[in-house]
Symmetry: D2
Subunit: 330 residues, 4 copies
C-alpha cells in the first residue's frame, strides 16, 4: 500500500457559522485558538489553513503555541477580505481607499505566512464581482482584479499566492469564477508566484469536471493546492466529502495521483449543524478508503479503456475498486 497523504483543513471547518437566517449563529463563537484545538482533536490532520486576522486579542505567538500543542502546521493564511469593509469588493472595490485597505490586510497576511512558515497566501476574493446586469463595466472590473493581484504578488516574490476561484457567493457573479478564467488571469498577471487552489466543490457546481480542471491546472503548473467537500451541484453546500459524488471525487484523486501531485488533501467543509470534529473524522475515514481504492484501481486497464474512450469498460474497473474500498475497514 502506498503511503497515506498528509491531511489538512481550513480552520473555518472548526468554527461556528452564521447565515442570513440564523443570524445568532448555528453555535456559539469559536476563537482561533479553540478552533486549532479542535483541529488537533481530529487526530489525522497535519496542517491547517488559517483565517487572518485571528480572533481579537490573539497574537501570533499564541497561534504558534496552539499549533504546536495540536501537532499542526500552517499550510496557508487566508486574509478575510470578505468582511463588511470589503463587502463591495476587495481588489475590485470602486473605492480606491478600500482597495488599499484590502491590500494592506493581504500584505499583513503575507507577513504571517512568513512567520508561520506556511506555504502560501490563499486569496479568496468572494466579494469581488457583481450582482445585477449592467452593474459594472466588465473590462474595468477584470482589470482591477488582475492588476491588484499583480501588485500584491509582485510585492512578495518570496511567497506564493493561491487564488481560490468560485462561480458565485457571496457575490451573484464572482470575478475569479473558473479554472480557465483563473489561468487566463494569472497569465495576464505575468508573475510566477501566483497559482490556484482548486476546491472540488467549486469546480463541481460551476459545471466543470473537477478532474479535468485539476489536469488543466497541473498542465499549466498552477495547482498550488486543493481542498474537498461535496454539494448537490447547484450551490457551494460545503457538505462532508464522500456523501454525494463518490465517483467524481475518486476521479479527482486519481488525476492527482496520475500526475504525481503530492500536496495535502485538505477539507473545506461547513458542518453547520454537525459536530465539526466528527465531520472531519468521517471525512478522513472516507479519504483513507478512497486512498485504498486508488491502490486497488487497475490503472493500466483503465488507461487502455480511456484510450478507446470506452465508458463502460472504464466504469467497470472503477466500480470494482471504489465499491470494494471499505471492505477491509469493517
Amino acid at each position: 500500500m502506498t503511503d497515506l497523504p498528509r491531511f489538512g483543513a481550513g480552520l473555518w471547518h472548526f468554527a461556528s457559522y452564521v447565515d442570513r437566517y440564523a443570524v445568532d449563529g448555528y453555535a456559539p463563537p469559536v476563537t482561533t485558538l479553540e478552533a486549532i484545538a479542535r483541529a488537533g482533536e481530529v487526530g489525522d490532520l497535519s496542517v491547517v489553513d488559517l483565517n487572518y486576522p485571528f480572533t481579537d486579542g490573539v497574537g501570533i505567538d499564541e497561534v504558534k503555541d496552539a499549533l504546536a500543542a495540536a501537532g499542526l502546521q500552517a499550510i496557508g493564511i487566508t486574509p478575510e477580505i470578505y468582511l463588511r469593509r470589503f463587502s463591495r469588493g476587495a481588489f475590485t472595490n470602486p473605492d480606491p481607499a478600500v482597495r488599499a485597505a484590502a491590500l494592506g490586510q493581504m500584505h499583513e497576511a503575507a507577513g504571517v505566512v512568513r512567520e508561520l512558515g506556511a506555504d502560501y497566501v490563499k486569496i479568496w476574493p468572494g466579494q469581488d464581482g457583481c450582482d445585477f446586469p449592467f452593474h459594472v463595466d466588465h473590462r474595468e472590473l477584470w482589470k482591477l482584479a488582475v492588476d491588484g493581484m499583480r501588485e500584491l504578488a509582485g510585492a512578495h516574490p518570496d511567497l506564493r499566492f493561491a487564488i481560490e476561484y468560485k462561480p458565485r457567493e457571496p457575490r451573484v457573479k464572482m470575478t475569479w469564477d473558473s479554472a480557465a478564467r483563473s489561468i487566463l488571469g494569472i497569465q495576464q498577471i505575468g508573475l510566477d508566484n501566483v497559482g490556484v487552489l482548486l476546491d472540488f466543490g467549486h469546480a463541481l457546481y460551476g459545471g466543470e469536471s473537477p478532474a479535468d480542471s485539476a489536469q488543466l491546472l497541473i498542465d499549466h503548473g498552477l495547482l498550488y493546492g486543493m481542498d474537498v467537500n461535496d454539494n448537490l451541484r447547484g450551490w457551494d453546500d460545503d457538505l462532508v466529502v464522500g456523501t454525494v459524488h463518490l465517483t467524481e471525487i475518486f476521479e479527482f484523486f486519481h488525476t492527482l495521483r496520475k500526475n504525481s501531485w503530492e500536496g495535502v488533501w485538505q477539507l473545506d467543509q461547513f458542518p453547520f449543524r454537525e459536530d465539526s470534529v466528527e465531520a472531519a473524522r468521517l471525512s478522513i475515514r472516507f479519504l483513507k478508503a478512497l486512498h485504498r481504492a486508488l491502490d486497488e484501481l487497475d490503472v493500466a486497464a483503465l488507461q487502455e479503456a480511456q484510450s478507446r474512450q470506452d465508458a463502460l469498460a472504464a466504469q467497470r474497473i472503477v466500480q470494482d475498486a471504489l465499491l470494494s474500498c471499505m471492505a477491509g475497514n469493517r
Copy 2:
C-alpha cells in the same frame, strides 16, 4: 387606468444582513423600529410583514406607534423559527422539546397578529428539511411537518396561516419545497385556515413557472399572499424585482389580475450592498410601470393567441405592452 394596488414589504427588506462570509454584517444592525421608519420613508408602502420577536426591548405598543407614525399597517407576522435554537428544524426538529418551543413562539406570533390586526401568520420553516442523502426518514419528516402545522393552525381557527415554500436554503432540501407539495400538505392538514404565500423568486428558482404556480394556488383557493424579487434561477438571490425576469414577472401579475386576485404587491428583497429605501423605491417604480403595462396589454388578443397556443403571437402582444410601459414615465 385601473387603481394602483397596495404595496408592501417584508420588514427584513430594511434590515442589515450577515452571511457566512461577512460575519460582521453588511451594515450595522437595524432595530425593528428603525426598519419601520425606513419602510415609511419609501413613500409608497402601505403594509409590512414583521419578523417576530422584535428587537430586544421593543414592545408591541412601540411597534404600533412606529407603524402609525410611518403610515403603515401590519399584513403579516413572521416568527423567526430559523434562528440557532431551531437550526435543526422547527416543526421537524428531532427533539420534541425544541418542536414545542417552536410552536410556543408561533403561538406568540399568532397573538401579535391579533393585536396588530394583521392578515396572517407567515410560516417560513427554512430549517425544516435535511442536508444529506440518508439524513432522515422522509415519511417521518413529512409527518412532523404536516402534523405540526395542523396543531398550530388548529389552535387559532380565527387566524390564517400562510406557508411560504422554498426549494432550499438554509436547508439543502426544505420540507415545504414547491407549490404542489404545499397544496398536498395543506390537504392533509385538513383545515381551512392554512394557505400559501407565493414568493416569485422561490417559484422561479425551483423550476416552476411562477404564473402557473399562482394559477394552481388560486384554483385551490390557497393564494393567501405573494411577494416578489428576482434571481438568476439558481438560487434565492432576492435581487430587486424587475432587474432580470421582466417577462415572467409580467406574466405573474397578469395571472393575478386575470383571476381578480387583489392582494398586496409585496417586496421580499435582500439589498445586501444597496440602500434599502432606494431599492424599494426602484422596485415600486418598476411595479407601477408593470401595472401600466397590464392596463395596456391587449388581453382579448392574448387570450385568442393562447387558445391556439401561439407563442409568437402572444409574445408580440406582450412585447408591445411591456416594452412601452416606461415611455410615459420619463
Copy 3:
C-alpha cells in the same frame, strides 16, 4: 441473502437514437423485434416496457413470439404520443382533433396491454406543456391534462395507467412535472386506476430527493412502477445507473425495500454511443451489488441515526455497506 428482484428495461434502451444534431442517428434503426432480441441477450432481464406502435409491419403475434423467444414478458406499453403529430401536445394539444387522435392511439395501447398481459399503460406526455412565458393559459392547460387522463383511464377500468412525470424535455416546461404535482392531478382525476411511474433521474434533476418522492408516492398508494438511470442533475441524461449518484440510488432502493415495495427494477437509459446490451449488463451488475449492499446495511442502526437526524452517523453506516458491496464480486 434476500432474493434478487426482477429486472426490466424500457425497450428503447435497445433502440438507436437521433437528436437535433446527429439527425442521421447514432446507429442504424433497430426494429421492435431486433430490440426484443437484444433485450433477451442481456441475460438478466425478465420484462420490458414496449413503445407502441411497433415498427411498421410488425404484428402483435410476432411481438409475442419474440418476447417468448427472448424469455421476456411485457410489463408496460408506452404509446408514442410524442411524435410529430403530437408535437404540440397530446392531451393538451390546442386542436381537439389531435387530442382525439392521441386518445385513439392510447386506447389502442390499452388493447395491447390486455393482449400481452402487461401490468399498465405507461403515459409519458412529453409534448404536453409549453415553452415560452405567456405561451398558454395555465389553468386551461392543466384542465386539459387532467380531463384527458380521466377520460382515458375511465374508459379502461380493468387496466392501470402509470404517468411518468418529468420536469422538461422535449417541452421546455412539462405539464406533469413532479411527484407532488402528479399526485395532485391524480386526486383531481378521481379514479383508482391511475398512478405514477417514478423515474429516478427525473426526480433527481427536478430537484427532488428521489427517495423522498418514492416515499410520498408509496404513502399515497400511487407508486405503480419505477425505473433508474443517472444524470448530472441538470438534464435527463439517461446515463447508465451507478455511474454518478451512488449514494442517492442506494437511498432510493433502501426506501423501496423499507416499504416492502416489490416491483421490477427497471432501466430507462439512452446509451447513445455505447453498446446497449453491454450498458444493460453493467447496470444490472451494479444493481446486484446494490442489492447486496442493502442486505449488508445495518438498518436498525440507520433508523436510530435517522431518528436523531444524525447525518454523520447515518453516512458512516451507509458507507460501510455501499463501499464494500463489490468486494465479493471480483
Copy 4:
C-alpha cells in the same frame, strides 16, 4: 438614430428538427435551397451561416443562385462534424481515421467559404467531449482538440476559423465549453486566424454573463462573430430572442456597441413548433426595438453609475431606455 446593423441567421433556423422523442421530425425535411428561400422571405436578413454538406444533390452553384435570388450572402459555413460518423467525436474521436475524415470535411468546408466569399469557417464540435466520470484522459482529450484545430487552421492561413463553444449537448461535457477555456485553447493553438463565435444562450446557460464574455473576447481580439437566442439558463433551449432575458440581451448589445464591434446580429434559434419565418421576423422586430433602446440609453450616466458600481442607478437608467423601446412601434 444610428444605422441598423446587418441581420443574419444560421440556416438551420429555417430547417425542420428531430429530437430523441419526435424521431419522425417536427416537420417534413427542408432542403438547403428551401431553407435559403425561407430566409429570404424574412425580409430583413442579409446573411446566413450554412451547414455543409448541403442537401444531397445540391451543388454550390445552385446555392449561389439561391442566395442571390433571396438577397442573401454567406457569412459562414458550418461543417456538420456532429453527425453519426462523428458521434464519438470529430477532433477528439479515439479513432485516427475518423479524425482524419472530420478534418477532410472541414477542409472541404474551407473551400466552400472561399467559393462563397464567406467570412469564416464556423467550428462547432458538439460531439467532442465526454459523458461519464472516468470516460477519458482529460489531458489527451484537450490535446486532441487543440492540435486538431491547429492543423485545420494552419492549413488555411487565408481563412478565419470561429469556434463556437458550449457547455454541453449533445455531449454531456463538451471540450470547448466556455469563453475563457476557448481563449486558453486558442492561445495554445498559436495562430492568428482562430477566434470565437459567441452564442448568447451558450454563455447564459453556462453561468457566464454574456456581456462579460463578449468583453473578454473583444479584449483578446477574438470575437469573430456572435449569435443570439434565449433559454431558461438550464439548457440550450434556442428560444426566440427577447422572450426571457430582456435586460441581459440589452447589456450584451450595449457591450458590443461600447466596443464599436460592428459585426452581424445573427439568430441561432430552433423554432421546433413555430413557423420559422415568423419566428425570425418577431426576433428582428425585437432586435430593432433593442437597437432603438441603445440609441436612447444614457450612456454617460450609465458609465458614471458603473464607475461607482451603483446597481440601482444603473438599473434605473436601463429601465428607462429598455422599457420604452417599443413605444414608437405601435
